[in-house]
Symmetry: C3
Subunit: 349 residues, 3 copies
Amino acid sequence: MRPNYPFNCWYVAATSDEVGAGPLGRRLLGMPVVLYRSGSGDVVAMADRCVHRAYPLSEGWLEGDRIVCGYHGFAYDTDGHCVHVPSQENVPIGARVRTFPVIEQAPFVWIWLGQPGAAALRTPPPTPWLTDTGWSSSGERLRVEANYLLLHEHYLDLTNVFAMHAAHMPPGIDRLPYLDEVEVSEMSVGYTRALPPAPLADWEAEATGLPRDRDYHRREQGTFVSPALHVQRWAIDTEDAGCFEQLRIHGFTPESPTSTHVFLQIAHGYATDRVLVSDHLRRFFIDMTRRDAAVLEVVQRQLSEEGEPRRDINVKADRAGVRARRVAQAMVAEEAGRPTLRSIPTAGG
Amino acid sequence: MRPNYPFNCWYVAATSDEVGAGPLGRRLLGMPVVLYRSGSGDVVAMADRCVHRAYPLSEGWLEGDRIVCGYHGFAYDTDGHCVHVPSQENVPIGARVRTFPVIEQAPFVWIWLGQPGAAALRTPPPTPWLTDTGWSSSGERLRVEANYLLLHEHYLDLTNVFAMHAAHMPPGIDRLPYLDEVEVSEMSVGYTRALPPAPLADWEAEATGLPRDRDYHRREQGTFVSPALHVQRWAIDTEDAGCFEQLRIHGFTPESPTSTHVFLQIAHGYATDRVLVSDHLRRFFIDMTRRDAAVLEVVQRQLSEEGEPRRDINVKADRAGVRARRVAQAMVAEEAGRPTLRSIPTAGG
Amino acid sequence: MRPNYPFNCWYVAATSDEVGAGPLGRRLLGMPVVLYRSGSGDVVAMADRCVHRAYPLSEGWLEGDRIVCGYHGFAYDTDGHCVHVPSQENVPIGARVRTFPVIEQAPFVWIWLGQPGAAALRTPPPTPWLTDTGWSSSGERLRVEANYLLLHEHYLDLTNVFAMHAAHMPPGIDRLPYLDEVEVSEMSVGYTRALPPAPLADWEAEATGLPRDRDYHRREQGTFVSPALHVQRWAIDTEDAGCFEQLRIHGFTPESPTSTHVFLQIAHGYATDRVLVSDHLRRFFIDMTRRDAAVLEVVQRQLSEEGEPRRDINVKADRAGVRARRVAQAMVAEEAGRPTLRSIPTAGG
């Protein structure tokens, strides 16, 4: 069955610090890919399979800008051309592995695994909070045995927090207001929600250092930026000290139809020079993400067993998640050459 | 492929002591089921899957008589109706999980997983030896990676004891007499066999305390009560001290086509107040059952590899097992709406 | 899918010392086989499955020349006839398991798993270096999770040594000359190669005790004797002390389409009475084989994922391996009754 992720989309392949002196093998969208850094510092990405025998290039080594197969020593340049076969004078005609366009926007290395010509038509989404001076960020990579859309849906509906992470909600709030608005564009879905005033949860107090004897307004925003990226914003408003913003940036890259690489970055827009704040928030959100992952892996096992079609009943809180799923489905359908709802004009449209 | 177990049959879901304060998740006939005890003490059984997302209710918790999903907090009453969705005012129409009829006959909790209307037409088989004062019983649950019919066939033909458990047969007996009689009714198959007089085996002497210096008559009876229950009786007759009976009661509940929950109870109809006798018999038969299970798991692996049709040659000792298999096959065929041998009148019938 | 190994071929089933007092169960060409030694010392091989229930005879025991099933005690003679069923007087008509022709040429026990009548038309290949007084040999069995042809191809193209085992090539040689010649007969493929003069590698010096201060000529030969056997010869020529020959003899017996039993024997044609030399060579080559196996298992996993057809590009060094693959394919096609290239007369043929 065709996977439910689009290929014509920029995905996070790795974080910058993962791609270094040696080759890094990683399965992305079901394909084995090898990543390495050439002498110029550029990241090179190619199919992780020697043209000669089915051995991964990532099991080999680098010689300058070339990657050498660990089986018979076939060497490839950064364009994927085989340039040396140790056992003979010449290189066989057509001996080339597929390379993939890469754009590094630290700390993310973005990759285009779709139709070769189409890469230039799009760019990776901007992630200013990971680089701008007004922000401090750090993160971690996790591998989750669940389809990438389960992750998107999970984070586009925060109402699970009361069952899963009740202690981390502001005291007195035991139910989230309905979403204020859900905005849908061609590839993205975003929502916002305002929370009623409430005192600080422990993690908020520890991170912000704000006084605990008063109530604060909060805004929550979630954005399905693309099938590859989800951003969640949690803003605590104060009257005198400005706004305290925390961001969870999730690079979701399908490894297979039932597993996903999660590139999690936690950013905060205050106390950017305080390592303790960064450490606290990173630990707090990574721990939360691990528990989220455990639940989603159970859901995935159950869905894999049930097979299609899905038997879920949606509720109001799923508004954003359902729209995101439709966006992804439309992208997949377009790649498969099927007509989609988006391409059919309607009276109401 | 359709499994070879009927659904319209009462099966053991759990033992009474397994169903307590928290939800118990268990796969029965290939379906995830959650069991819990309501405030009235009744056992509730329902599909172990929230209607919203594919998360098992058994991962959640109880609030009074309600079971709450651990993902988004959806709550269900004992009828399987969703009665609370924390993120909104109302409950979606039609949000209900399937419930299953349950009858508790301690120590067994029986469940009906078949056609809903048909449950009332049948009752779980009586198991007086597990409750009557003339008997003492105790047991254990095992999970065996083998089809439930392999277990039935195994226990309906005790001639394996000489190869598998030779030390436990009465001294001097190295071959079992042919079955005296095999009785077949619509759903059950039973046989009896009388053994020639012989001294006590060690386990018999230890359990009964009878003198070892004489020979005893024994009767063995095996009954396929239904696809869900097998009962084996081992009776030692004495001239002066009455009859010493041991029973193995096997609840066989398919977990999947290749695995079975075995609810084993050992009952004895003498020395019912002597814990040492109960302990001895339970240990003895559980150990035997574990060795039986190991053999059947090897057989299952081999059969799974061979695929259908089965290439077995039956012998006389398989008389009862073969009839039991036919009973089960006929029940499965009826559920599938296929004509069966039972429904076709024959000249000889 | 039909496996890619022929059945009409003698394969190594075991080494002589593996077949002793008890039954040995082993999967060969996808079939469960039991091997044991009768009172006369002959090796008996039969299908490892009782006719009654799907239990392996290898889980049972021997009583004289008979093998007894560990489940219900059915006994079989060396012809595979069931000769005793403990629970009844007679044996069911037709109760017989298939036996397989076996020829022992120590240390190998060869088996014929193909068309029964055809065994006599062929003989196992001679392996004089394993028995003749001019040679000393010893070995080990490995199980490799890779198709048997991957192993053949691997050892028919030694050019991987520079990437995989560079330290073990003679100093100064960083590339193997092209094959001198590739000879193909109906079932076998052989090649030879002469190496330019070079000093000794460490392992050669340690094994031969030859002086290290001079250059030596070497000849390498590889032979695909049949789908079941590969022989590799490494000869170091001296002017005054004769020729120092090392042989790797590989019995490759498919266990399944993706796994292979490797019966490795290392023989040397000098210092045949020196145990230290034998030990050194055995350890050296077993270690090398283990590293080869690890690579081939990665290749197999990748191929299993890619599915057919293979996307490999062959180079000159694959000459012998490609021919061997064709020989095997032709044998398989003949067994399937398909016309092969060999059976079609050509103008050039």
